[in-house]
Structures are given as structure tokens and as C-alpha cells.
């Protein structure tokens, strides 16, 4: 009887499995196609870009890349974007992860729930609401136009996100674990760093990826708070859209490259996206 049930179950799972693979393949293809089309087109000349029917085979050129990165200084903007992104990510994690831990563990202190919710309100307002006051603050400090201002603005924007997300990951780990470690003689802080944090590595890595992405792609604050040579990529790209014709070739070259550093970052940290260590291994 059991053998029969098991073989029936196995056949059912296989069907589901096939559907799952098909779905995954389709999903991946759809995710990648626009970027791929973009990559392909970045090697086309302007007349080829608009050809009908759309060309998959054509004479490639590297002009667009040269023009964008060398002539129009996009290499510099790329550097700015990287610097701001990494700084904002690091700072956000340093400030936000301990806070998330506090919210997750110290449930009884004053106003926990309300304070937690209040922090999220920073992400509710339309971004423009904060633009002018931030602009004036930075102007008065004299940091306007420097990448530091943008780092601060990005930290501010993403802090709530980090706290909220990491709290979710911390919540998955039961409090017993903390208490067992502390009974064994570790202080709260040591328990945090040596035990809990490593267990949430997938969450930590995911959060870091997203903060980097948000900072990387952020447009409004970057537009207002930077200028000239301190511009980041999202701000510089619309400069290629002009009434004398969008320099589409160059837009595509930049659009292709703009995604690469984050992908490199994700590739570097993805080994942490593994199943959590078992309790046994921890002990």
C-alpha cells in the first residue's frame, strides 16, 4: 500500500516539476530578453537601431561605447555611482542591522511597535517632500554637490528598508537561540555577532543587494544634490535624450553597462545565499 502511494506521489511530483522548470525557464527568458535586446542594439549604428524588421544580424560597431564612456565622461559617472552605492550600503547596514535586531528581540521596551512603524514612515512620503528641506540642509552645511550629501540622503532613504527587512529575518530565528547562548555565558552583544548574525547571512546579503540597487538607480535626489562632475549614472543618462535625437546607441551602451557592476556584486556575495546552518552545526 505504501509503495503504491509513494509511486503515485512520485509521478504527480514529476508533472509539477516539469511545469515548474518550464515556468522558471520562461520567467528567466523574459527577465533577460529586454536587457539582451538592449545589449545587442548597443552595437548597432543609429540607422540599424531603427531598422524594420528589427535586426538580429548586422554590422557591429564599438562606437557607441567609446562615445559614451570616453567622450561623454560616463566612466567618471560610473565611478561616482559605485562609490556612492557602496558607501550608502555599508553605512545603512552598520546603522540599521543593530536597530533591526533590537526591534526583533527587545519587545518589551517602551513603544516598540509604534517606534518600529514610525521608522517606516520615512519611506511613505513621496520623495519630493524631502528634497527641498534636504537641499537646504546640505546647502547650509556646504556639502551640496558633493557625493557625501548623496550618500547621506541615500542612507536616510534606505534605513527603514534595512531595519524592516532585517527584522523580518531576525524574527525567523527563535529567541531560544539567543537565550541558550547567553546561558552559556556570552553577553548579548557577543551572541549577536557570533551567533545570530551569521545565521541571517542570506537575509543580510539580500538586504545589501537591494540597498545597493536602490542607491544605484536612485534618480531624484541624485539629480538635485549632485551636479557636474559628481553626477551619478541615472542623472547622466537623460542627458543623452536630446531634441536633436536621442543618442540611442550610447543610451544602450550605458544601459548595458549600468547593470553589470551590481551583477558582479551579486555574483560575489551569492555564495552566502545558502541554506541556514542547522542547529546541530551551530552547537
Amino acid at each position: 500500500m505504501t509503495t503504491e502511494r509513494r509511486s503515485v506521489k512520485k509521478r504527480k511530483i514529476d508533472l509539477v516539476g516539469i511545469a515548474a522548470y518550464v515556468f522558471l525557464a520562461a520567467f528567466t527568458f523574459l527577465s533577460v530578453f529586454p536587457w539582451f535586446w538592449n545589449l545587442l542594439s548597443s552595437f548597432k549604428t543609429t540607422t540599424d537601431i531603427w531598422a524594420r524588421p528589427p535586426l538580429f544580424i548586422f554590422d557591429p560597431t564599438l562606437n557607441n561605447y567609446y562615445s559614451a564612456f570616453v567622450t561623454r565622461n560616463f566612466a567618471l559617472f560610473l565611478k561616482n555611482t559605485i562609490v556612492v552605492g557602496l558607501a550608502a550600503t555599508a553605512l545603512c547596514l552598520v546603522i540599521g542591522v543593530p536597530a533591526a535586531y533590537a526591534f526583533s528581540r527587545f519587545k518589551t521596551f517602551i513603544g516598540n511597535n509604534q517606534l518600529f512603524f514610525f521608522i517606516l514612515t520615512t519611506r511613505m512620503a513621496p520623495g519630493f517632500v524631502e528634497i527641498i528641506p534636504l537641499y537646504l540642509i546640505f546647502k547650509n552645511i556646504g556639502l551640496l554637490g558633493s557625493p557625501i550629501a548623496l550618500v547621506f540622503a541615500h542612507v536616510y532613504v534606505n534605513l527603514a528598508f534595512v531595519i524592516w527587512l532585517m527584522k523580518g529575518f531576525f524574527d525567523e530565528i527563535t529567541v531560544d537561540l539567543d537565550e541558550r547562548a547567553m546561558i552559556d555565558g556570552a553577553s548579548r552583544i557577543r551572541a549577536f555577532f557570533q551567533l545570530i548574525l551569521p545565521l541571517t547571512l542570506p537575509g543580510l546579503v539580500t538586504t545589501a543587494i537591494f540597498v545597493l540597487i536602490f542607491s544605484w538607480n536612485e534618480f531624484l535626489f541624485a539629480l538635485i544634490l549632485t551636479g557636474g562632475l559628481s553626477r551619478t549614472l541615472p542623472v547622466a543618462i537623460p542627458g543623452l535624450v536630446t531634441p536633436a535625437g536621442t543618442y540611442w546607441g550610447e543610451v544602450m551602451a550605458v544601459a548595458t553597462v549600468i547593470t553589470v557592476p551590481i551583477l558582479i556584486f551579486a555574483t560575489a556575495v551569492r555564495k552566502y545565499l545558502v541554506r541556514g546552518l542547522t542547529f546541530g552545526a551551530v552547537k
Partner: protein, 479 residues
């Protein structure tokens, strides 16, 4: 009860804010900056912000001449896309941060900049003979295209900054089809009059209708393997569409205000113009409702259509064989037609899209900035600039043989720029002009997409303008 704490905080904060908010506040002005005196060998960096386009690149090419004449001065030019430019420049001017010393501005923003005290009047330039002497000023202004100075740099009787570049739209058309004998004969047979440059908008539409052919039909003796269109519109919900409409409705006799300062944007004349504008949609490519000047240019470059309204500064892209399939056959013509040549109110109208050059009142190097603005407007510099894709305000530039030889310049200058400034004043320069413009764009988009009828859209626009300007609407079309 759970959120009582938060609730108390919010209410208290709101009350405090409301109390504070009932006190009249002092409006912000540019912060007081001590103007740095320009001595020889002082290191000055002038920041210029402008629209990312060939003309600005042209300026970038010739700026080292200025740097050579003024040692110690470096010019940094920052190009931005149209809408980002408007935001960054206004934000900088408003906050008084002086990030940009020289600002390029569209004409209808002048009032806003002046009334908020953000830009330097020409009197300040003239007060310092090292910047510009009264004689030089007279020569310069007399050498400008007639009407440019007042249209672009004058506000309530005073001049601010200097006009720097002037451009308008004109007709782009396929010279090869225009000259083709067979097409000419067919046109005459079908419409009863010869194919020639349009005098009326009806002729424009006739030509559009005539040349709209489906795939498989013949054009110039050859079979088409794609759909061909007679015209196109820049009909996306974007400033481009209102710029284009300004080329149409005044030549129907429509106006924004009448002599008594009533709002008449929703008059029958403007409604006729809008109906006409909409009637061109069937002869335009299917994507027309998402077309900006950019897409219209691509359509021209790809040889998709016969004739259209487009800008002078984009013309460099269409005569360039490396980007355009129609580089050899596109021709340009001005002026635009009118709806009724016998009606004195109907004059050709051309929207102006150039930039005037202003000095930021909060600039740390006001003197030097003024000097640069003056330099950029000098006739010989303007000639040099026009040779580098500049769109000059000085007549001399168009008379220069090298510039005059470009296929586009004749149409731009002699036909159009003259008429652009004679028939100027279609859109006001008051501080609220930008908001009015944006609402105009919305109304047009509502009408062209069919979300509202012509009458409804124009009435809505009239109401919005009435509440912005506090002027009365004369009458309504649909109520």
C-alpha cells in the same frame, strides 16, 4: 489605545505647525554673496548650464577662445536634458546657491526668474564699462534678429541677460517627392491645384492625405514595402505638443488673451485649430500619440513621411548621412501656412525654442559671468558659433557665407526667425507661464487622445488658466 502615543504626537505637531503657519513668512531671496573681484590671474570657474544639444557642444568648442583672452578663467559647461535642465536651473536659482553662474533659460520662464529676484538686469552689465559699453550694446542689439531682444530678454520694460540662441520650427519635407513629375501630375488631377508650398493649412492636409500610402501602393514609381505617411505630429503628453500647437492656433486667429485681457484660449478659432490638429492624426504614423520631437526626427530620418513641423536644431541630425537615410532628400521651408489668408488676424506663427542667457543673481563671480554672456552674444563670436552648429541671435551669423551655405539656414533665418519674433507674444512670460504651459500640454493630450472633446479640453484649459491668472474667461464652448 495602541497608537494613542503616536496620535498625541501627530496632533500636537500639527497644531504647532498650524500655529506657526499662520504667521506671514518672509519670502526667500538669494543669499547675500560678496562678489569676488576679478583681478588678473585669479582662478575663476564659471559654471554654465544648458541643454545637451549640438549648439551647446558648439559653444563648448569655442569657449577656449574666451579662456585665452581672460587668463585665470575656466568655463565649465554642464549639459542637461530639457526637463532636468529646467528643474536644476530653477532649483539653483531659487535656493540662491549660486552653483551655476550662467543659466540658459526658455523665454517663458523669464518672468518667474525676474519677479523672484534671481537674475541680473542688463543695467548692471552696462554700469561696468569693462563688461560692455553703451555703444557696444547698441551695436549688438541692432545686429540681432529683429524682435529677438524684446521677445526673449525683455520683461515689463527691462532687459535681463541677453538672447543667445534663437530657433523656431519650420516645415521639413521630402524634396524628391515634391519635385517628382508623376506625383505632381497626380496631385493636380486629384485636388485641382498644383503641388506647391502650402499657403493654407488645408493645402497642408491635402498634401498629407495625398502622400499617405499603404504598403504595396506606389510612390514615385516604386512599390512601397512599408506604410508611408503624409505627416506626423509631436503629440505625446510633453511640452513638444504645445510648442507644435503654437505653430497652428495663432494662424487661425486664436489667442490666449484678447485686448481686454479676457481669456479666449477656448474661442471658436482655437477650437477649429485643435480640430484641424486632430484631423492630421489619420495621416500620421500609428505611434504619433507617443511622439516627441525626438521620435518625429527618427521618423524623418527613416523616411517614414512626407512633411512635418520640426525644429531647426534637429535639422543637423537629419542631414547627417551617418544617422539619416534621407540625408540628401530632406528640404526645409518657411513660413507656415495660415487658415485663411484673407483674414488679417491669421498670420503665420512660429514657436520659439531658443535659449536666452542669464546671469544668476547669486553667482559668486557676477562680473565675469556677465562678461561671458556678453562675449557669447558678440557678432563675431556668434558667427563662429553658428559655424559650429550654433543657433545665433545675430543677423551677421546668417549672412556669413559658410553658415549661409548650410541647407537649413536659409529657411531658418529669412523665412522663419523674422516672422517668429514679429508674431511673438503668443505665450506670456509671466511667472505662472510654466504652469499654464503644462496645463496646455495636458489639455492637448486629452483632446488628441479622445479622452475629452475639443470643446471640453479647451474649456477646461480656460478654467485652469482663469484660476491661475485670476482673469475672466470670455465665454464657454461646451457649457
Amino acid at each position: 489605545m495602541k497608537y494613542a502615543g503616536a496620535g498625541v504626537v501627530i496632533v500636537a505637531g500639527a497644531a504647532a505647525g498650524a500655529y506657526y503657519a499662520t504667521r506671514p513668512a518672509a519670502p526667500p531671496g538669494p543669499t547675500e554673496t560678496t562678489a569676488a573681484t576679478t583681478g588678473p590671474m585669479q582662478n575663476i570657474e564659471l559654471h554654465v548650464i544648458g541643454e545637451a544639444l549640438p549648439p551647446l557642444e558648439g559653444l563648448n568648442k569655442i569657449k577656449d577662445i574666451y579662456e585665452g583672452e581672460h587668463p585665470g578663467v575656466k568655463i565649465v559647461i554642464e549639459p542637461y536634458e530639457f526637463e532636468s535642465l529646467l528643474q536644476k536651473s530653477t532649483a539653483d536659482l531659487a535656493a540662491g546657491t549660486g552653483q551655476y553662474d550662467c543659466v540658459m533659460s526658455i523665454y517663458y520662464n523669464l518672468g518667474k526668474y525676474v519677479e523672484n529676484g534671481w537674475v541680473v538686469p542688463i543695467d548692471e552689465f552696462l554700469a561696468d564699462p569693462t563688461i560692455i559699453t553703451p555703444e557696444e550694446y547698441v551695436t549688438m542689439t541692432e545686429g540681432m534678429i529683429p524682435g529677438a531682444l524684446n521677445s526673449k530678454s525683455e520683461y515689463h520694460g527691462k532687459i535681463y541677460g541677453l538672447p543667445f540662441s534663437c530657433q523656431t520650427q519650420f516645415e521639413w519635407y521630402r524634396g524628391d517627392m515634391f519635385d517628382d513629375a508623376v506625383e505632381k501630375d497626380n496631385f493636380k488631377a486629384q485636388y485641382g491645384y498644383p503641388l506647391d508650398h502650402c499657403k493654407t493649412w488645408k493645402e497642408w492636409r491635402d498634401q498629407a492625405e495625398f502622400f499617405t500610402r499603404n504598403k504595396g501602393e506606389t510612390l514615385m514609381g516604386k512599390k512601397l514595402d512599408y506604410d508611408f505617411f503624409g505627416t506626423c505630429l509631436q503629440a505625446k503628453r510633453h511640452p513638444c505638443t504645445w510648442y507644435e500647437f503654437i505653430c497652428v492656433f495663432p494662424s487661425f486667429g486664436g489667442r490666449l488673451f484678447d485686448v481686454e485681457q479676457n481669456i479666449v484660449i477656448n474661442s471658436r478659432r482655437v477650437a477649429d485649430a485643435l480640430d484641424y490638429y486632430k484631423s492630421l492624426i489619420p495621416f500620421s504614423p500609428p505611434g504619433v500619440l507617443e511622439y516627441t520631437w525626438d521620435d518625429a526626427l527618427i521618423a524623418a530620418q527613416q523616411g517614414l513621411l512626407y512633411h512635418q513641423i520640426l525644429w531647426y536644431d534637429a535639422s543637423y541630425a537629419v542631414i547627417d548621412p551617418t544617422q539619416s537615410k534621407t540625408a540628401d532628400v530632406i528640404k526645409f521651408h518657411a513660413p507656415f501656412p495660415v487658415s485663411d489668408p484673407t483674414d488679417p488676424l491669421c498670420k503665420p506663427s512660429h514657436s520659439e525654442g531658443g535659449w536666452s542667457f542669464l546671469v544668476n543673481a547669486a553667482s559668486k563671480y557676477k562680473e565675469e559671468a556677465c562678461r561671458f554672456v556678453v562675449w557669447a552674444n558678440k557678432p563675431d563670436i556668434q558667427i563662429l558659433w553658428a559655424r559650429n552648429a550654433g543657433l545665433a541671435a545675430q543677423k551677421a551669423a546668417y549672412e556669413d557665407p559658410e553658415v549661409a551655405a548650410l541647407p537649413i539656414t536659409q529657411a531658418a533665418y529669412y523665412g522663419n526667425l523674422n516672422s517668429a519674433f514679429t508674431n511673438f507674444g503668443i505665450w506670456p512670460k509671466e511667472p505662472w507661464a510654466e504652469e499654464g504651459y503644462d496645463k496646455g500640454v495636458q489639455a492637448l493630450s486629452n483632446a488628441t487622445s479622445g479622452a475629452m472633446t475639443t470643446e471640453q479640453a479647451l474649456d477646461w484649459l480656460a478654467d485652469e488658466l482663469a484660476s491661475i491668472t485670476k482673469k475672466p474667461v470670455l465665454e464657454y464652448l461646451s457649457k
